[in-house]
């Protein structure tokens, strides 16, 4: 994805349409901030200062408000994440069921620590809180897809697939 500067940032046609629909869904313009940030993150990959300034200008709110909201919520990314963003649950049930071991395995296999991104931009790793999937712990979320009942074997298969450039279908593992 090319680099964006404040002057060139704008929603593309599809996102502009969704943005307009979002504005109509809320009685106050400011309430569209969360959905607008989602749209921006989807299009630009992360919420840089320039992107936040753009979103704020579209909602006629102070850039500092967009900044504060982007910092408050863990799923908004100020920095780009990897093409495959590995989100490993570290909460109660997952830790009982072995997420610590998986964490060590991933760190070793991919060569990054939580919060890190591989130099080639392929992977990033984040430890996350309960993903609402404790019945199938331990759980890993990659981008928007849940992988449940993770074992080292399944973890290997996921990473292998990602290295080939595709996110596997969880059912196929």
């Amino acid at each position: 994805m090319e680099k964006h500067t404040a002057a060139t940032i704008a929603f593309d046609e599809e996102r502009e349409a969704r943005f307009q629909r979002t504005l109509r869904a809320y009685p106050e313009k400011g309430a569209a901030l969360l959905p607008a940030l989602w749209l921006a993150q989807e299009q630009f990959g992360s919420l840089s200062d320039d992107v936040l300034a753009y979103v704020a200008s579209r909602l006629e709110c102070a850039p500092v408000k967009a900044f504060a909201v982007a910092e408050f919520y863990t799923m908004y990314k100020r920095e780009r994440v990897g093409r495959f963003h590995l989100q490993l649950c570290r909460n109660l049930t997952c830790s009982l069921m072995g997420s610590e071991k998986l964490r060590a395995f991933i760190e070793n296999a991919v060569g990054i620590q939580p919060g890190g991104r591989t130099p080639d931009g392929l992977f990033s790793l984040e430890l996350v809180e309960c993903l609402g999937s404790c019945g199938t712990a331990p759980v890993l979320r990659v981008n928007d897809t849940y992988f449940e009942n993770i074992t080292i074997e399944r973890m290997k298969a996921i990473l292998e697939n990602c290295r080939k450039g595709t996110l596997p279908d969880p059912e196929s593992l």
Binding site: Y76, A137, P138
Partner: protein, 423 residues
Amino acid sequence: MKIISANFEKKDSHTLAVYEAGGGYAAARKALSMGGGAVVEEVKKSGLRGRGGAGFPAGVKWGFVPKGVDQPVYLCVNADEGEPGTFKDRHIMEKDPHRLIEGIIIASYAVGIHTAFIYVRGEYVFQIARTQRAVDEAYAKGYLGPDVMGSGFALDVVIHRGAGAYICGEETGLIESIEGKKGQPRPKPPFPAVVGLFRCPTVVNNVETISALPFIINEGAEKYASLGTPKSTGTMLFSVSGMVEKPGVYEQEFGVNFWEFLEKRAGGVKGGRALKAVVPGGSSSPILTADEARSATLDYESLAEKGSMLGSGAIIVYSEDVCLVRALAVITRFYAHESCGQCPPCREGTYWLHRIVKRIETGAGTMSDLDLILRVCGNMRGTTVCVLSDACAMPVESYVRKFRSEFEEHITRGGCRFPAETG
């Protein structure tokens, strides 16, 4: 008895066609012909209590919305599902989103609401897509929109995606978040029923609470109230996880023996190990010893009597080989991470509890740490804007009080004797 999960096993249960084939949307039609006041009365009579954690009677909460105000009233459906151990609302959104939508029509009509927001945690991308598709189907069929089922009643449903913050499950944090702000809870009073979303009266209810409404309207309040116990009517979805043979979501009528439920439905403790303790209602609920779990029944009263709570129905089972000090280190880390930071007792208390428990876990604690923990907990109770602070202090106190010897052992041994992993 299956009410909420009645359709879960059906093929394509998430579609309008399957929902209607099973009698879906008859309750909404019936409600629209009853008059709003009668619907509220029916829900009050059913005894339905909120399934989001606090167990407040739904009909009574609706009754707090002032009548005849010259302002819109809003419904916020709480699908934030952040309480560790809880994974039931996602099943409703995945497998039976139309039951939720029908419930929304009933609640909205009853209270005089024309806009409902469903606040879904940001990770539930699949569930959001499913629910949105169901909402679209309902609009296309005229079940939502300017003239719901030709009744003249108008209702819009908007799905709002969260973005990763446990505190947005707290009702006023949720409201702030829909308004486009940081999810920092508001002081109460005023309660949302009076001053809520966009400064208007607002009803906040959990997904499962709303999803119980079609049954109540179809079958009548008396039928619903005849299930369970006098104070815990109906059924609840229990999310069972941890060291059990068959983790999963189980719908269960209230009032059965707690441990028998876990043995019968979830297969008992994994690998035939001995039971050590049970978390009955999400990570915020005080822990039950094995004996307490064996003598408790599955309802609001029994767990309150045991000094704990039913909460969100998230049951986490600990077998004999689970280290409770480590479990508590995870819990305290979570609350320290999720404190929104606006109240010093919560911000500092959660941070210190985690530091101290962590230091005991790694073998660097001292005996005086145990009383220090209890003192910190005392300072965190009842002093803050929302109850996240209590939600951290309550389990901490219970683990340290009920399993003090395990903490002492860590301190004297200088570390843990349990395996690093139990699952």
